[in-house]
Structures are given as structure tokens and as C-alpha cells.
């Protein structure tokens, strides 16, 4: 072509349009715009303040000795010496017991609800039960746990007492903790399973594998990040709970002597405290008035929660699915996480 397209040179005067000018809106709309900004900034400010406050207080009161020494035994006055090693151990023990019970149970139930779910009325009932479990306050679950573990035949879980069993031990507390972590794990696993495309299952069935085998060897490994995220969320919930501890773990600041002669089990049958109950008892609301210790313990607790939060973010971001699915999962987990945590 003789008059081949001679592309015109790009212009010199280029304008990049600004965002919509709010100043042109009517007054009422501008007010609401301002309200939105204020709310958003307020949210930021509150969160920032909480973190900074705890940081300042925690750093000023936290000494390494606190982490390594046990609380002064029996004494209510914690002001002088003694740290919170026992409560830290208690937290770890309860979390471990709770997670060990909840994780397999949660994954199993989630698999049943997603892959089998027969008969359907039963599946719906179980689904509603899990939802309801998520909605029951943990203090009520603790009350139920106390009745349950006070029964005489369950003395092996805690210790004997005047009528039936004592009902308070790490095992008892851990078991009820499992109940509050369960809905989170079930939700996360189900979300992961439902996000898997059906062709994965079809491929496995076409090779002659059963549903059980498929679930165990194909599906569950594929959703490991989801399961992990759910478990970590459950752990976060367990770590932060105080009500169950108060009811089911007794009030001794230190870990009591192991009950019976079995090595680990004996320890678990005993009572003790966790960081949450330690913070409570050392605050002005509890008996102790050592609020420096309370701040220090609370700071350690907050660090644990932050670490778990960070872990969940990493797990959901580096999932194998696309970014859209990952953010959906994160949002859903944020909802469950935010909605299922108290006391």
C-alpha cells in the first residue's frame, strides 16, 4: 500500500484523569463519604493502639526469668517472684490435647459431609449440629464438660473426688477445647474439598479406586493447606479461651503433680493453669494483683496469636489453587475465625 499507515506520533499533552471529585457531590453524600473514611481510620487506629499498648506494656514488664520460672506455689500474691512457665506449659498441653482430638475428628466429619453424606437427612442434621456447636458459648460447653467428666466412670481422665470424678484435668479441658476448634476445622476442610474440581475424583474412580481410598490418598493430600489453615485457626481459638480453663482446669497456678504412674497420661490427668487463666487471675478482676505479670503473660499470649495468624496467612496464600480461590478461602476463614472465638 502506497499510503501505508504512518502512525501519528503520540501527543505531548497527556492528561491522567483524577479519581472522581468528591467535592462535586451533594453535601449529604459528602457527609457519608467522610463517615466512611472516619470509620475505616478508626478501625485502623483501634487496632494499632491495642497492639502498641500491649507491645509497650509487655516489653516493659517481660523479663526472661518470667518465661523460665514457675509461679510461686499456692500463693495468691504473685507480685514478688515467680514467672509463668507453668501456664505456658499448660497452654501448650491443652492446645496439643485439643488439636489432637479435633483435627482427625474434624477432617473425618468433613470428608463424610462432602463425599458421602448419606442419608441426606442425617447429613443435614450433622451439619446443623456443627453450626450449632460453633454458636454455643464456650462457658456453656464447659459446664457440659464438667457434668460429663464428673461421672464416676471417667475417673481415669482426671482424679477421684467425693462424688464421682473431679472432672478437672488437662484431658477434660482439652477434650472440650476440641469441641470449639471442631467447627473451624470442619469448615476449612469442607471448603477445601468443595473447591477441588470433580474431575480429580472421576479420574480416581475411573481407575477403580474406592471413595475411601480416593479421599485418603488423593483428596486429602491435595487440600493439605486448607486443613492446616483450619487446624491453625482452631489452635488460635483454643489458645485464647479462658472460660473452659476456669471450669475444667482448676485454679492452681502451677501444674500439679502427675496423677498415677503413667508418664504422659499422668501429667495430663493433673490440673494446672494456662496463660489465659494466669492473666485473668493476676488482673484486678482475679485474686492476684500483679498486673505487671498479667501484662507480660498477655504479651506472650498475643505473640502466640499473632504467630498463628501469620501462619494462616502463609498457608492460604501459598495454596496450590489460584489466587481467587485462595482469597475466597481466606475470606471465609476470616469470617469463621472472627465469628467463632470468645472467652
Amino acid at each position: 500500500m502506497a499510503a501505508a499507515a504512518v502512525s501519528p506520533a503520540p501527543p505531548k499533552a497527556v492528561v491522567r484523569p483524577p479519581r472522581e471529585r468528591v467535592s462535586s457531590w451533594p453535601l449529604v453524600d459528602r457527609l457519608f463519604y467522610a463517615l466512611c473514611w472516619i470509620s475505616g481510620l478508626a478501625l485502623c487506629a483501634i487496632a494499632l493502639w491495642i497492639v502498641l499498648y500491649m507491645l509497650v506494656k509487655g516489653v516493659s514488664y517481660l523479663k526472661p526469668s518470667l518465661l523460665t520460672s514457675s509461679p510461686v506455689s499456692g500463693s495468691i500474691q504473685q507480685t514478688s517472684n515467680g514467672g509463668f512457665l507453668d501456664p505456658i506449659e499448660g497452654t501448650l498441653l491443652v492446645t496439643a490435647v485439643g488439636t489432637l482430638i479435633a483435627a482427625p475428628l474434624g477432617v473425618a466429619i468433613a470428608v463424610w459431609l462432602t463425599e458421602y453424606a448419606r442419608p441426606s437427612w442425617l447429613a443435614r442434621a450433622v451439619d446443623s449440629a456443627i453450626e450449632m456447636l460453633a454458636g454455643v458459648p464456650s462457658i456453656v460447653l464447659a459446664l457440659f464438660g464438667l457434668i460429663f467428666f464428673s461421672q464416676g466412670f471417667l475417673t481415669f481422665v482426671s482424679q477421684g473426688a467425693a462424688s464421682g470424678a473431679l472432672g478437672q484435668s488437662f484431658i477434660a479441658a482439652g477434650a472440650v477445647m476440641a469441641l470449639i476448634a471442631l467447627p473451624l476445622i470442619v469448615a476449612a476442610t469442607r471448603e477445601g474439598l468443595e473447591a477441588l474440581p470433580p474431575r480429580i475424583r472421576e479420574a480416581s474412580f475411573a481407575l477403580g479406586k474406592t471413595k475411601a481410598t480416593t479421599s485418603r490418598y488423593v483428596l486429602l493430600p491435595a487440600i493439605k493447606p486448607s486443613i492446616a489453615a483450619g487446624v491453625v485457626l482452631g489452635m488460635g481459638r483454643i489458645i485464647g479461651d479462658t472460660a473452659i480453663i476456669t471450669v475444667l482446669l482448676g485454679g492452681s497456678a502451677q501444674l500439679t503433680e502427675p496423677v498415677g504412674h503413667t508418664p504422659v497420661w499422668g501429667l495430663l490427668r493433673g490440673t494446672g493453669s494456662t496463660l489465659t487463666s494466669y492473666v485473668y487471675y493476676n488482673s484486678p478482676a482475679g485474686e492476684g494483683n500483679a498486673h505487671e505479670k498479667a501484662y507480660a503473660a498477655a504479651f506472650v499470649l498475643l505473640l502466640m496469636v499473632l504467630a498463628l495468624n501469620f501462619l494462616v496467612t502463609r498457608l492460604t496464600v501459598t495454596g496450590e489453587r489460584g489466587p481467587a480461590a485462595a482469597s475466597r478461602l481466606r475470606m471465609k476463614l476470616a469470617e469463621s475465625f472472627a465469628g467463632r472465638r470468645w472467652s
Partner: protein, 346 residues
């Protein structure tokens, strides 16, 4: 060959529509696995049922003794509880005498106020997050919200009792106000307002998360269509987006209410030292009166679970909480049905 095809057709019809397309060899094992897994699900069902039954049984004596008066006003809650603890019944009543009205009132006021406040603030914050915030701010706010959601309630309680309550005591509560009600109750920083405000902060993250996620899934075609018609962004949000997401907001509200209802530790630390029925007729003083909601009371009295009458009373409180939790679950289910219907319609 034909027989084989007919055979497999017949066996396929026998299945009840599940995804069973496996040969016979693994089917037995599959059936076992299904039963085992199903049993675990049933276990949870049984546990919930057992919980409801046992709590009800333990609570029954208290309800039977007090009848409907259990929910009403009467003597002071603290006095009644102390009577139970010391086995010294109040004049004219048995040991099981209990009137829970101050607790119920405290629960209702704190929960409703916190949820209402959180609803308003979270809606604006969610709109800010999805529409008006600069992208960098949006990215930082996301982990911030998750952080707020993750803070344990005992830490909220600690900050409340050591930092916020003293501030309220010093700056918002005047000496004259304290003196004016001295004969009835002691006013300090641990009161209705402090408790409600912190409770609001605790339930904000759930609602912001849910509302923001719902807002960002409003079809962009609607938003673009509205903007192309010359309607500014705020009006678009108000008239199109909010209208579309209100079921999700309702679901979030139900979730938040359940959370607020069950909050025991923070409120026990911060909302007040006495279970007092805050009186709105007191005017502004109402805001500074102490309250003790139901869950917080259970938490406070949990050492008394070994004493007979006290334990029945505590379980009665637990039963009330359980009932409210069940009703909220039902409400949540109803809202979810509405969401599903809207999803199909839209």
C-alpha cells in the same frame, strides 16, 4: 455381554444416587469407611443432644422452684447467690430462690447496644474498605482486621480493666454523679459503657469481614451501569450495593450477636463488679452503672459448681444461654435460606 450391561445397569439403579462407580472389590471397605465416618458425625450429634439434655436436667430444680419468677426481678442477685453459698436462705425463701432479671437485662442491653453500634460502624468501614480506600490501605487493613478478630478476650479484658476503665473513671465520671447514687451502687470505670464499647470492638471484625466480602461480590456490571447513568459512587453503593448485600449483613449480624451473647471473660472483668440492673430512667447515669450479663455471671460463679443449689442456678443460667444460642442458630439458618434464594433470583 448384553447380560453384563444389563447387570451393571441394574446395579447402578440400586445405588441411591451416590457417587458410587466402583467395582465390587473395594465396595465393602468403602461401606465400612462410610459407616465409620458417619458414626463420627453422629457422635457430634449425640454430644449436642447430650449437652442439651444434661444441662436441662441440672437446671430443672432451679426453674421448678422459682417458676417464671426466675426471669423476674426480686432481691439482689449477689445476695441470693451468697445465700446459696453460705447455705443461709433468705427470709421467706428457700435456698434455690433466684431472680435473674438484672442479669438478663444486662445481657440484653450490652448485646443489643454492641450489635447496633457495630452494625453501623462496620457498614461504613466495609464500604470504606471496598470502595474508597486507596489500594495500599486496603492491603494493610485486611490483616489488621484479622488481627483484631484474633485477640483473645482476656486481653481485651485486661486492657479494659487496666487502661480504659480508669480513663472512664477519671474523665467521664464526675464525683457528684458517683455521690448521687452512692446509697444504691458504686460507680466506677467498670460499667455498662466500657463493657459495651469493648464488646463492640470485639464483634466489629466479623461484621466488617462479612460485609466487605459481600460488597466486593456485587456484580460489577451493576456498579458500572449505575455510574454510567450519572449516579455518584456513594449513591450507587446505597441504592444498589447495600440493597443487594443486606442478607449477608443480616447473617453477619446474627453471628455477631451470638458472639456478643457468649462473651463471658471480658465482660466479667470490665462491665461491673455487681450484677445490677442498670436503670435507664436514671438518665445519663444509666450509662455508667455496672452490669453483669449472664455469661459473665456464670464465669464468675464457676467456683461454686460444687455447691448444690448454686450449681443448679448456674446451670439454669447456662440453659438460658443455650436456648438463646439455639434460637440464634435458627435465625442464622433462616437468613442463609434468604441468601440462597436471593442468589438464585439474582
Amino acid at each position: 455381554m448384553r447380560g453384563g450391561v444389563l447387570q451393571s445397569l441394574r446395579s447402578r439403579r440400586r445405588n441411591d444416587g451416590g457417587r458410587r462407580s466402583t467395582p465390587a472389590s473395594g465396595a465393602a471397605g468403602d461401606r465400612r469407611a462410610e459407616l465409620a465416618l458417619g458414626a463420627l458425625g453422629v457422635l457430634v450429634l449425640v454430644l449436642i443432644g447430650a449437652m442439651v439434655v444434661t444441662v436441662a436436667i441440672k437446671a430443672w430444680p432451679s426453674f421448678r422452684y422459682n417458676g417464671l419468677g426466675w426471669f423476674g426481678p426480686g432481691a439482689e442477685v449477689d445476695t441470693e447467690l451468697r445465700a446459696m453459698r453460705e447455705s443461709a436462705p433468705l427470709k421467706g425463701h428457700g435456698l434455690l430462690y433466684f431472680t435473674a432479671w438484672p442479669l438478663l437485662w444486662g445481657t440484653i442491653v450490652t448485646t443489643l447496644a454492641a450489635v447496633a453500634l457495630a452494625l453501623v460502624v462496620s457498614t461504613f468501614a466495609a464500604i470504606f474498605l471496598t470502595e474508597f480506600a486507596p489500594p495500599r490501605m486496603r492491603r494493610t487493613l485486611d490483616p489488621v482486621i484479622r488481627l483484631l478478630a484474633g485477640v483473645p478476650s482476656v486481653i481485651y479484658g485486661l486492657i479494659g480493666i487496666l487502661a480504659i476503665a480508669p480513663w472512664v473513671d477519671q474523665h467521664l465520671l464526675s464525683e457528684s454523679r458517683k455521690k448521687s447514687v452512692l446509697y444504691v451502687v458504686q460507680l466506677n470505670g467498670e460499667n455498662l459503657t466500657t463493657g459495651t464499647l469493648i464488646l463492640t470492638v470485639m464483634i466489629l471484625p466479623i461484621m466488617v469481614a462479612i460485609t466487605a466480602s459481600a460488597l466486593s461480590s456485587v456484580p460489577p456490571a451493576w456498579r458500572e451501569g449505575s455510574v454510567a447513568l450519572g449516579v455518584n459512587r456513594w449513591r450507587t453503593i446505597r441504592r444498589v450495593s447495600l440493597r443487594t448485600v443486606w442478607p449477608a449483613v443480616a447473617a453477619g449480624t446474627v453471628l455477631a450477636t451470638a458472639r456478643a451473647l457468649g462473651e463471658a471473660v471480658m465482660l466479667a472483668m470490665v462491665a461491673g463488679s455487681t450484677p445490677f440492673a442498670a436503670n435507664p430512667l436514671d438518665g445519663l447515669t444509666f450509662l455508667f452503672e455496672p452490669v453483669r450479663p449472664l455469661a459473665a455471671t456464670i464465669f464468675q460463679e464457676s467456683e461454686g459448681l460444687t455447691i448444690g443449689p448454686l450449681s443448679h442456678t448456674i446451670y439454669a443460667m447456662g440453659a438460658v444461654l443455650l436456648l438463646s444460642a439455639a434460637m440464634l442458630s435458627l435465625a442464622g439458618w433462616a437468613v442463609k435460606q434468604m441468601l440462597v434464594r436471593q442468589g438464585i433470583r439474582a
